[in-house]
Symmetry: C2
Subunit: 229 residues, 2 copies
Amino acid sequence: MNNMKIGVLLSGCGVYDGAEIHEAVMALLAIEEIGAEAVCISIDRDQHHVVDHTSGVEMNETRNMLKESARIARGKIKDIKEVDPADIDALVIPGGFGSAKNFTTWAFNGPDGEILPEVKLMLINLINIGKPIAALCVSPVVLAKALEGSDYHPLLTIGTDQEPSEYDIAGFAGGLEQTGMKTEMKSVREITVDKENRIVTAPCYMMDASILDIRKNVRSAIEALRDLV
Amino acid sequence: MNNMKIGVLLSGCGVYDGAEIHEAVMALLAIEEIGAEAVCISIDRDQHHVVDHTSGVEMNETRNMLKESARIARGKIKDIKEVDPADIDALVIPGGFGSAKNFTTWAFNGPDGEILPEVKLMLINLINIGKPIAALCVSPVVLAKALEGSDYHPLLTIGTDQEPSEYDIAGFAGGLEQTGMKTEMKSVREITVDKENRIVTAPCYMMDASILDIRKNVRSAIEALRDLV
């Protein structure tokens, strides 16, 4: 299929306070490799906070998601307000703490957290018209908060507790279940495809992984996303 | 060769005021693909300025190269002061305006610009002990300012004026010649390898290029770098 357009929803620029850069760049690469066109999208709102990535310490600064995400997009990015679900054929949400701090407040309140209304609206609209979504790394929490209370109960993965991870994978999975999602454990060499709900999830950096693992995991997710269009 | 360590010298995080993110991430990927280990390195100094990547307009902010580069490195980065030339087998310098605004002042003063002394020292030391360097995109200007006035007159490319580019390729090449370098025109599908001086250069985003072009151009440069070790 030519001219397939895949939205790439970015929450900033950097793993600890925005979108995970390697996952985002690998998504842009894979989208071009399958002959599709990437449409980078972000939100014109401030990030929850700014983190010094050398120390993990919060900095006394304010940064805007759209402006920071534009670094990954080399300036070519759209405000989510300008994007109609009809404009894209599918959407991918890279990981990074931005998904759990900016798009949702899962990092602070777990499954009881909030989600930005414009993010929820875009995801619900896409699902309602049968357009597929891929959520990488921690981004299944964004899907969960968007679909919570709806008739959609997709099968998602956020990694596996059977292989090394610095995160509480079982805890995240339990939180996803609490919002009405189904979950399964998958390694960074696997993805989960829910064909009925047209949702792809891939563990990526939720697991201890190398950039080559990320490259392969994201490529698999984007290929699966294409096959659901 | 196992355990080959390749330094990745980063000037920030974002094409307009720091390191070009796609080039940097593709370098990290290619380094792992050839079985080597990446050692991310930056400078604990402020960037020249901060640019809003949605508009190109300067922002009233101050950002530190080391802290911003750490976003690309996922926190795993060394201050150049802690890196001895003996610690790495080769070095790659991704592009982005950081090479012409932070490492050097080429963006403002052309070939008459300055270079940070710690950057010059590292490059000269590596060349003196026969360790190869790859300079991507605009980063040949960093090499030129480091080697100016020395006995080294390597052959470099900074792109070609025979294919589309938003930059004045001939002007950049003329500037490089003025500092004592030799230059040749190459497309984004080619690289220049100076075997005698152990220097690789690749046009990358100096040319109008897609992320897939960048992927291939960087991969070629990293393979050539490995072959010079």
